[in-house]
Amino acid sequence: MELAFTKEELAFRDEVRAFIDANLPARIRDKLRDGRHLAKEEIVEWTRILHKKGWSVPKWPVEYGGCDWTPIQQYIFSEELAAAPAPEPLPFGYSMVGPVIYTFGNEAQKKRFLPRIADLSDWWCQGFSEPGAGSDLASLKTRAVRDGDHYVVNGQKTWTTLAQHADWIFCLVRTDPDAKKQQGISFLLIDMKTPGITVRPIQTIDGGHEINEVFFDDVRVPAENLVGEENRGWDYAKFLLSNERVGIARVGASKARIRRIKELAALERIGEGRVIDDPRFRAKLTEVEIELKALEMTQLRVLASEARNGKGKPNPASSVLKIKGSEIQQAVTELLMDVVGPYALPRAPQEDGWNEPPVGPDWADAVAPSYFNTRKVSIYGGSNEIQKNIIAKAILGL
C-alpha cells in the first residue's frame, strides 16, 4: 500500500499543470471559477488548444488520437483540468458516442466521425431521454421505420444538453415495436440539420439554457448511420453509460470550488470578523472537506481496482461515487450561499456582454444560479434513488 504518486507521475502532473497555466485563457478560467456558463466558442477554443497538443481525446485508442496514458495519468489530467479550473472535454463526443463508434461502428463511421470529434468540428448531443421515461430509460417511444436505404424517425427526445449547439445527435430509437422493452432498440447517428428536426429550449430554474427538447417529424436518416446491428442499441447504450465512471464524483471540481470558497469567505465580513472565522461556518466547511477527501480516496481505490481488474464491466462502486459526489457538489453550493448571504438575491442577466456594475461583490450573481442548477446532479445520470437501488441489488444482494 502506497499513497504517493511515482516520480514519473509527478513529472507528468507538472507537465500538465504547466501546459494549462500557459495556455488556458484567463477569461475562461475566471468564468469557471465563479461557476458561470461558458459560451460555445470558449469550449471550442479550449478544445482546439488541447487538440493541438494532442490531448483532446486522451483516453481513446492511440490510432484515433488518444494518448496511451495509464488510468492514473488520465486521472491526473482530469484533476489538473478541474483544479485550474479549465473546461473538461465535452463528454458527448469524447466519452459517449466516440467510444461507441470506435468499439461498435464500422470503418467508414470511424473515419468520418472520430477526427471531427477530436477537434470539436462536430458538436454532438445525446438523444436518449424521452418525456415520461425518466429513470425508466428503456420505455422510450421514438420510432425509426426502415424505408429503403433510410430510416424514418418520429418522436421526441428531452433533457438534451446543449442541443442548441449540436451538429449531430446520437439517438436510441425503437426499430422493433413488438420486441420486449430493451430489445428492438437501435443506435442511430443523426445530422441535426436534417429536415424535420426541431429544437425547443427548456429554461432551467437558474435562468440558464442548457437543455432542450428535440422533436423528430418524419426525419429521414441514411441507413449507413446505424451503429452496429439493428435492435442491439440497448447493448451499446449500456456500454456507453457504464463507460464514464472515474469522473462521476467530480472531486477535482469540488476541490476547486472549496478553494474558491475559502478565498471568498476570507473576504466577506460578519461584524468585526470574517465569514471564514465563524465557527459554525468553519465546522460545516471542514466537514465537507473531510467528506471530499474521503471521496477522493474512494475514487482512487475504484481507479486502482479497475486498473487491476480491467475496465469495461459496470462497477457498482461507481454508484457510491455518484451519490457522495453529488451530495458534496450540492453541499459546496450551499456553503457558497452561506458566504454570499443577502447578496444571493440579485439576479444579473446571464448573457455575455452585460456591463452594469454588479450588486454586491462581483462574484455574487453566479452563486444562487449555481445552487439552483446543481440540484440536477442528484437527478441526472441515474438519480440518487436509482443509485441506491443499484447498491442494494448489485452489491448488497437485497
Binding site: 420505455s139 432551467t204 465580513r269 461584524g271 443577502p342 440579485p346 445552487y371 440540484r375 441526472y380
Partner: protein, 378 residues
Amino acid sequence: MDFDLNEEQRLLKESVDRLLLDRYDFEARKRHMSGPEGWSPEIWESFAELGLLALPFSEEDGGFGGGGAEAMLVMESFGRALVVEPYFATVILGGGLMARAASAEQRARVLPGVIEGRTRLAFAHSERQSRYDLADVRATAVRDGEGWKLNGDKTLVLHGDCAQQLIVSARVAGGPRDEGGVGLFLVAADAPGLSRRGYATQDGMRAAEVALRDVRAEALGDPEGAMPIIRQVADEAVAALCAEAVGAMERAHELTIEYLKTRQQFGVHIGAFQALQHRGAEMFVALEQARSMAMLAAMMSRDPDPVERSRAVSGAKVQVDRSGRFIGQSAIQLHGGVGMTMEYAVGHYFKRLSMIEKTFGDIDHHLRLVSEAGGMAL
C-alpha cells in the same frame, strides 16, 4: 391557549384565498410578472379593495388594526401563490415603520395613499458591509434647517424601485454598530440627490440599490432612537416571511405529492415506491414543525418583552429555513428533471424559499442570536 381563527380572521383568509384562486394561478402569475413593473397594478388595486393594504394600521389611521395573526394569514396565502407584488415592502416593512415611528401628521399625510394603493413604501436599510446586523448603519443624517440631509448608499432595498416613498435609516450619532444614534427618515423617491437602480431578484421579485447624496429628508420620530422600532419591525418582518415560507412549502409539498400520484415509471405510480413515500412523509413532518414555529413567531412578534419576542422569532426563522431548505430540495428531487424547469411551478417555490432563507438573517445568523440569548428558554 387557542389556535383557532376568529370570525374576522376566517373572513380575511377566505377573501384572500378567493382572490388568489381566481386571479393568481401559475399562468396568471407569469402574466403579472411580465408587465413593466414586474408585478401587477391591477392585483395591487384588488389588495386595496380587500383592505389588505390597511391591515396593520390603527383604526384612527384608517386601518384595521390587524396584528401578527392577520399578517400570518395573508402572508401564508401569498406564499402559496408566490405573490410578487410589493406587499412585504410596502405594508409589512413600510407600514410597520410608519405605524410605529411616524407622527400623527405624517401618518395622516402618507397612510391614506398607502391604504388606497396609490403610494408604495420601501425600507432602505441594508448597506454593503452590514450583512444581517441591523445596527450596522453608516449612512449619515445631519441637521439641515428644519429637516435633515442624508448621505450614504443603501443596498438590497426590497421593491425599492417602485416605491414613491422611501424610509431610510441613517446614523446621527455613535459608532458604526452602536445601538443608539440611528434615525429613520422619510424621503420621496424623486427627491434631488437620490438615485436608484432597480433589478430583478432570483425569485422574480424586485429590489434596488439606492444612493443618497445630500438628500433632504424629514425624520420619523426620535432621530437618535429608532433601533428599538427597527428591531420590532424586523421581527414582524421575519414572522411574516416565516408565514410566507410555510405557504410556499405547503404548496411545494402538495405539488410533489400530486406528482407522485400521477407520474408513472416502471409501470407504476412513483408514489408506490416506499423510499419516495418516506421522503414525502419527512417533508410533511418538516412542514408541520415549520408551521408550528411560524405560528409562534406570529403570536410573539408583538410581545412587549423584546428578548422573548426576538428569541421566538429567531427560533422560528431557523426552523422555517431548515424546513424550507429540506422541503424545497426534496420537492425538486422527487420531481426529477421536470422540477428543474422554469415551465413547472415547483422550482419557483424552491427559489422563493431559498431567497427567504437569505432575507433578514439566515440560519446561522438566527441560530447565533438564539444561542446568545441562552437558547429557547425551555
